[in-house]
Subunit: 311 residues, 2 copies
C-alpha cells in the first residue's frame, strides 16, 4: 500500500493525458458500465462531508473519495475544502493507494471535464473564451482549455474587480491574453466558448445576450440550489449535454430549468454518448450548445487511476 | 495528520479502558446524541465493501470506517476482511489520523460490546462461560469477558472439532480452563453466560435447552439472513437488549424472531438505556436475558477515538 502526498501528485499530473481518461470515464458511465451507489453525506455543525464511491466493471480498481467543506475554516487560516481518494483492487479489496490530494484532484477532474465538453461541443473557431468566476476553478478551466483549443484570448467576469484582475494576471503568466469585465452580458456578447464556475444561486448569464454559435459549459451548479444560467438559455440551446442525465434531474442547470417550467429546446443528451458518437452533439458552427456538468464519481475513478498508474 | 499501523494500534490497545469507552458510546447512541447516516455499500463481483460513518454531537472527532470482505482471498493467501478508520476533527474537517487497522478494531469493538453486555446483563455468579464458534471473535469475546467476570471456566462449541481444540488451546494460554464440545445443547445446559459468534443461518442454540439464570449475547448475526438463536429463546427471555432497536428491526436475532411471528417475551430494550439505568436489565439471578448485538457505528467512533488519544 502506498501513501501519496499532494506534492507527489502534482509532480505527475502535468504528464497525464487526463482528457482521454475523463472522456473514457464519461463513455463508460453512459454505457452503464459504472457502478456508482448514492453519495454518502455527513452533516456537521460547521461543515459537511461527502463520500463518493464506485467502480467501472472490468477495470482494476474501485475508488472511495471523501471530500469535505468547512466554510468557517478560512477564518482559522485553514483551507475550507479537503479530501482524499482511496484506490482499492476490485479483485481482492486490497488498499493500493491513499491519495492525500487535499481536494485538488476533484478540482482538476472538474476542469478536465470542461475541456472534454469543449472538445466535443465548442464551435470549430473559438474567437474568445469567456470565464465566469475568478477562483481556483476559473483558473483551472482556462488552463485545461488550452489543451483543446488554440484560442488564447480570454475575458473574465467577476463580481469583485480585484479578484478578477488577480485571476487575469495569473492566467497571463501561462500564455493567455486576458481582459476582465464587471458586465456579465459582455461574456455572451464577446465570447463563443464560455465556462461558468461560480457558486451563484441566481442566473449570471441571460438568454437575451446569447448569440448563435456559442457553447457554454456550466460547472458551478452541483446542488439543487445553485444556478448560473438563465433557464431561457437552455430553451434556446440546440443541444443540452448532461454529464449524467439522472443526476441533472435533481441538481444543476437542467434541474433549475425544469423547476421553472422551461423545457430545454434541444434534446438533452449525455456527454458520454456524444463522445462515443451515439448522440448528436454540435452539427454546425451556428448551433448553440450547453454542457451541464454536476460532477460524477467516474471522473474521480479516472483521475485516481491515472495518477496511480503514473507514480 | 498521522498514519497509524496495526502494529502501533496493537501496542496501545492493551492499556485502553475500552469497556468504559464502548459503554459511553452505547449511552450516547440511546440518548440520540449520535449522528449515524445509512451504511454505504459497494457490491463487487468478488466481494463487498461497507462504509460506516458518523459522530457523537459535542465530541472532538467524526469517524469514517471502510471495511471489506472478499471471500475468495483465502485461496490467494490474503485476508478476506480488511478495513481502516479515518478520524477527522468535527470543528474543521481536518484528517487527524488514518488508522490502518486491517479490520482488527472492528473485531475488538465487537468483542468489547460483548463484555459490556455481560457486565450489565450476566447473572452475578458466572459458573461457566459458553462460546459458540471457534474463530477470531470466539477468542476475543472470551478474552474480553475476563475483564468483567472472574470465571475462567469455558466450554467451546464448534462444528469442526479440530478448530475447537485449537481455539481451546489458545485460550488455555491466557488463563482459561477450556473444554470443547460438538453438542450445542451442552452450552445451554452447562453455561450461564453464553456468547454466540458464528455466521450461522440456522439456529444453533435451542429454547428447549435454556435454563433460568442464563444470559446469551448473540454477536454473529448482523444481516437479515444470519441466525444463531432459536426464536423461542427470545420468547422465554425476560429481557432482550438490542444495541440498536432500529437496526435490530431489520437484521439480527430480533428481526429473525419477528419474521417468524414470535414476539419477544420480555420488553425489548436498548443496551445504552440499560447501561444508563433508564431501562430495566436483569433484576435477579433467575432471569433469562439476551443481548442482540448487530454492530453500530458509535462503537467504531469510540474505539478509534480511544486509540488515537493513547498514541
Amino acid at each position: 500500500m502506498r501513501i501519496t502526498t499532494l506534492e507527489e501528485i502534482n509532480t505527475v499530473l502535468p504528464r497525464l493525458d487526463l482528457v482521454s481518461a475523463i472522456e473514457a470515464a464519461f463513455v463508460a458511465y453512459s454505457e452503464d458500465r459504472a457502478v456508482v451507489p448514492p453519495v454518502g453525506e455527513l452533516l456537521l455543525e460547521k461543515g459537511d462531508v461527502h463520500i463518493k464511491y464506485g467502480y467501472v466493471r472490468g477495470e482494476e480498481f474501485y475508488v472511495i473519495k471523501i471530500a469535505s467543506g468547512f466554510y468557517g475554516n478560512a477564518q482559522l487560516g485553514l483551507p475550507s475544502g479537503n479530501g482524499l481518494m482511496l484506490l482499492y483492487r476490485q479483485e481482492t479489496g486490497e488498499l493500493v493507494n491513499v491519495l492525500l490530494d487535499e481536494g485538488h484532484l476533484t478540482d482538476v477532474r472538474t476542469a478536465v471535464a470542461g475541456a472534454v465538453a469543449a472538445r466535443h461541443l465548442a464551435p470549430s473557431q473559438v474567437q474568445r473564451i469567456g470565464i465566469v468566476g475568478t477562483g481556483v476553478q476559473a483558473r483551472l478551466q482556462l488552463g485545461w482549455l488550452s489543451r483543446v483549443t488554440d484560442c488564447r484570448d480570454a475575458l473574465i467576469w467577476g463580481r469583485n474587480a480585484e479578484h478578477a484582475e488577480r485571476c487575469a494576471a495569473d492566467m497571463g503568466t501561462v500564455g493567455f491574453k486576458v481582459e476582465t469585465t464587471g458586465d456579465a452580458s459582455a461574456i455572451l456578447r464577446e465570447c463563443n466558448l464560455v465556462v461558468t464556475t461560480t457558486a451563484a444561486t441566481e442566473p449570471i448569464l441571460n438568454a437575451k445576450d446569447l448569440r448563435p454559435g456559442t457553447h457554454i459549459t456550466a460547472v458551478g451548479s452541483d446542488t439543487p440550489h445553485k444556478q448560473e444560467l438563465d433557464a431561457g438559455i437552455l430553451t434556446l440551446a440546440d443541444v443540452v449535454a448532461a454529464d449524467s442525465i439522472e443526476q441533472c434531474k435533481v441538481r444543476g442547470e437542467i434541474y433549475q430549468a425544469v423547476q421553472q417550467g422551461v423545457t430545454t429546446g434541444g434534446l438533452t443528451v449525455e456527454l458520454g454518448d456524444v463522445i462515443a458518437g451515439r448522440s448528436t452533439g454540435r452539427t454546425d458552427d451556428e448551433k448553440i450548445t450547453v454542457a451541464d456538468l454536476t460532477g460524477v464519481a467516474v471522473q474521480d475513478m479516472a483521475i485516481a487511476g491515472a495518477v496511480h498508474a503514473a507514480l
